[in-house]
């Protein structure tokens, strides 16, 4: 069964007809040619497909496109303004927070979403005091970014990049 939906992707309005089984990830990649979110597992286990959906980070492979009619989708590509990278992307470049680059757009989107969560005062599993503003130390960053796997092992550089971007 097909259904017509409209998405706002990286600021652009896109209307398309999708198989109701189509994930947001496949709709972006295979239907709209938006390749920034990557498919690493299709099971929500690796985070490579992370996008910001109405401002919150989600794994787009676990999100059905048909359920997101009217949603605002921001990918890592949409985070940069023209040739100017987002501060998180700039920090990834300076700290070499990637190697093969396949998990990177997901790491970047996840970091941007995560920093907003911290600003909003959301605690994590390792937050000691749930009543205070979370202090974004390395342990907090690692915990909050653990949904984004990196097989090249760029974790320490990613944490440095996020720490700098958060300051």
């Amino acid at each position: 069964m097909d259904a017509e939906i409209t998405l706002r992707v990286d600021g652009q309005r896109r209307t398309l007809s999708v198989d109701t089984r189509t994930t947001l990830l496949d709709a972006l990649r295979e239907r709209l040619g938006v390749i920034s979110p990557k498919k690493g597992c299709d099971h929500g286990q690796c985070g490579a497909c992370t996008v910001l959906l109405d401002g919150r980070r989600v794994t787009s492979c676990l999100t059905l496109a048909v359920a997101q009619d009217g949603a605002e989708v921001t990918t890592a590509e949409g985070l940069s303004e023209g040739d100017r990278p987002h501060p998180v992307q700039q920090a990834f470049l300076e700290h070499d927070g990637f190697q093969c680059g396949y998990c990177t757009p997901g790491q970047v989107c996840s970091a941007v979403g995560m920093l907003d969560e911290v600003k909003a005062g959301w605690p994590s599993h390792v937050t000691e005091n749930l009543e205070e503003e979370p202090d974004l130390d390395d342990e907090e960053i690692r915990e909050r970014m653990s949904g984004n796997l990196c097989r090249c092992g760029a974790y320490t550089n990613i944490v440095s990049a996020i720490r700098e971007a958060a300051e």
Binding site: D19, G40, T75, E77, L93, Y102, E143
Partner: protein
């Protein structure tokens, strides 16, 4: 060439493909724009051994949008063996083998139709597990470049009998799966007898040269394009079954591209893995702690479909002195998928066993493990007698000891406790051969004010694109911005694959030689359109020296006293790997190898169910790889090593030495923390609770 100053930021440019990668606009195989593609979904065997007796494709074919269901009954006959003989017979050699493929208009329809294919089998008994003293063990085919013949020097048994101190220990390692983040994918376009593949691999020409005889194609009419590759770690070194299946499907639909990406679960049986194994190490020393006997026997899993063997025991050939030495590698062929290279094949597992056993040996002698290694440092390569081109292991150990605070270490195991955590530190040595493969071809041209450098190298995340551009700029004596490097496609001249940590050395040598020839031919001010192409010559020094990169790995480990949970808050690796071309990307490669080593030590285990012959935990939920929260401080350092013999740049490979020794350092530290010696990877909690 001038030496590089490793901490000079001018010598550590950011990755040239960085802006595209952080935006996600760098195009990987499946993302290359093609018109009107169809999608291929593989059908896999549900038994471990036997034959397909019937395939009912009617329900799949009746589904709107399905173009073709390929099976062994209708697939074209090709000239292939082993895992690449796809759909050539009804025989099933392992569970998960490709026994069909559905071509459809959308990925959803292809996946649904693949599930509708009904297969009946004649089941045969299968064997998919083995034991430490397995009667089926056999010698591997030593004509493979990965394996050397047995070594038996002196009289090991007599030396062990006479030794003052001995250890006799066996270490076990599980199946480990490469799991690059980008699943293996290929897009095949067949048009007018011309094949274009957008493929995820570690060498475009390797893919071409494998496919040409299989399909009887003209090599000039096969194009493999792979500008960006999302990791490989060995599993993309050779094409696997899905590439053959995709080309078969493309040849049925000329002009319509066919896209095939493996699912994460399909990768477990279809793209290779590090084979599980047992390694027995017997060591003996004299009263001073000097090794008099070394025996290392490795037994590893192979596949009945095609042999894969690596020389894990080879790690003990040239590491330490020992007048008496016996090295053997054996395999057990089972009804399982074919293993393949995984980062530091042979060394990763072999050095885990050796460096753990050396820790036990040092303890048996009452010696500090660093002093033990220094005491057993050879002057020349022990088995061949050749001089080392350079060997700075002792410097790495000393530098690391100072930086890690080794001098304050209390050697007694199991005596440090901080709250609920038992704390320990450990060390291990790392070694990996330095290969420079001759025969790569590079072109240097000049036009529009830029030097164009072309070579079909692969950047699988190593930073090759950046490092090779630096090497070209240095060889041409021009700024980095004056060089435009093109790699990753058969549109460029032929290059060796990204494997064995040989890339920068081999391709860099080709570029340096081409650049020198270009200058000789066209001078300092080349005319517009000037161009020179050369093929790299073998190193005249090759064979005269033993050439290896070395490292010292240090680990701090905490083991929870009640739960056995193991944490690694700190890793330090100090390496001696020749000239470092780019400090930024090199640091990342070393740290990445160490992080994968941590993952190997603590997490990775492909669990085979012997009843059915498959890996049970075939996704990232079940097969855990190190995540952010698993990784603490990973420090990387290297010494300024000048090796005039390895290649014109003085570089040694750095992609693999980083993983070597890490699991041993962590295991040794876990023993130091707890007093429990776990001799089986991964170091999961229950092993510290029951083995004490």
């Amino acid at each position: 060439m001038t030496d590089v100053l490793t901490e000079d930021p001018g010598r550590a440019p950011q990755r040239l493909d960085g802006p595209d990668k952080v935006a996600g606009t760098a195009r990987y195989a499946f993302e290359q724009p093609v018109d009107g593609p169809r999608y291929l979904h593989l059908v896999q065997a549900g038994i471990a051994r036997g034959r397909v007796t019937g395939t009912d494709t009617s329900a799949a074919e009746a589904l709107p949008g399905v173009h073709t269901v390929l099976t062994h009954e209708n697939a074209e006959k090709v000239n292939a063996g082993g895992e690449l003989a796809v759909l050539q017979s009804p025989e099933v050699a392992f569970r998960g083998q490709v026994i069909g493929a559905v071509l459809a208009e959308t990925p959803e329809i292809a996946a649904q139709a693949a599930g509708l294919v009904e297969v009946t089998y004649e089941r045969h008994p299968h064997e998919s597990t083995f034991g430490v003293d397995d009667h089926r063990a056999q010698s591997p085919d030593t004509s493979s470049p990965m394996v050397t013949e047995d070594l038996d020097q002196g009289d090991v048994d007599a030396a062990l009998e006479a030794a003052e101190y001995t250890v006799d220990v066996t270490y076990a390692t599980p199946p480990e799966h490469n799991n690059p983040m980008e699943p293996h994918a290929t897009v095949a376009v067949w048009e007018d007898g011309e094949l274009t593949l957008y493929d995820s691999n570690q060498g475009p020409y390797v893919v071409r040269d494998v496919l040409v005889p299989i399909f009887g194609l003209d090599p000039e009419r096969v194009h493999v394009v792979s500008p960006h590759v999302g990791g490989g770690f060995g599993s993309k070194g050779m094409p696997h079954a899905h590439v053959v299946a995709t080309v078969m499907a493309a040849r049925l639909t000329p002009g319509r591209p066919v896209k095939c990406a493996l699912t994460r679960a399909q990768m477990f049986p279809l793209v290779g893995y590090r084979p599980p194994g047992f390694q027995r190490v017997r060591l003996g020393t004299d009263a001073t702690g000097r090794l008099v006997a070394t025996e290392h026997s490795a037994l590893e899993q192979s596949s009945r479909l095609a042999e894969y063997a690596e020389q894990s025991a080879g790690a003990s050939r040239d590491m330490y002195v020992s007048p008496n030495r016996r090295i053997t590698n054996r395999v057990v062929a089972l009804d399982v998928p074919v293993p393949t290279w995984m980062r530091a094949p042979g060394e990763a597992g072999g050095m885990y066993a050796l460096e753990s056993a050396v820790d036990e040996m040092a303890q048996a002698c009452g010696m500090d493990p660093i002093e033990f290694r220094v005491h057993n440092e050879p002057d020349t390569a022990p088995t061949s007698g050749r001089p080392f081109s350079s060997r700075n292991l002792v410097t790495c150990l000393r530098r690391g000891a100072e930086r890690f605070g080794w001098a304050e270490r209390d050697p007694r195991p199991g005596v440090r406790r901080e709250g609920d955590w038992l704390v320990g530190t450990g060390v291990a040595a790392a070694s990996f051969p330095s290969f420079t493969i001759p025969g790569s071809v590079a072109t240097v041209g000049y036009a529009d004010g830029y030097y164009r450098v072309e070579i079909a190298a692969s950047d699988i995340g190593t930073g090759a694109r950046t490092a090779l551009t630096q090497i070209a700029a240095e060889a041409l004596e021009v700024p980095l911005s004056a060089v435009r490097l093109h790699l990753g496609s058969t549109a460029q001249p032929k290059a060796s694959l990204a494997g064995g940590s040989s890339g920068t050395a081999s391709w860099g040598t080709a570029i340096v030689q081409a650049a020198r020839a270009f200058r000789a031919e066209h001078g300092e001010h080349p005319p517009e359109g000037a161009e020179t192409t050369t093929k790299s010559e073998p190193d005249p020094e090759a064979g005269k020296y033993a050439m290896n990169a070395y490292g010292a790995q240090f680990a701090e480990v905490r083991v929870h006293a009640d739960t056995g949970e193991v944490r690694v808050p700190r890793l330090l690796g100090v390496f001696a790997a020749g000239r470092i071309v780019n400090a930024r990307t090199a640091r990342s490669q070393f740290a990445g190898g160490m992080t994968m080593g941590l993952s190997m030590a603590l997490h990775e285990h492909g669990v085979v169910d012997g009843r059915f012959g498959h890996v049970v935990n075939n996704d990232f939920a079940g097969y855990h790889i190190a995540a952010h929260a698993d990784v603490g401080s990973v420090e990387v350092d290297w010494i300024d090593e000048h090796d005039p013999h390895v290649n014109p740049m003085g570089t040694k490979g750095i992609g693999e030495v980083g993983i070597v020794g890490v699991a041993a350092a962590i295991g040794n530290a876990a023993h130091h923390a707890t007093g429990v010696r776990v001799r089986e990877l991964p170091l999961t909690p229950e092993k510290f609770l029951t083995d004490g």
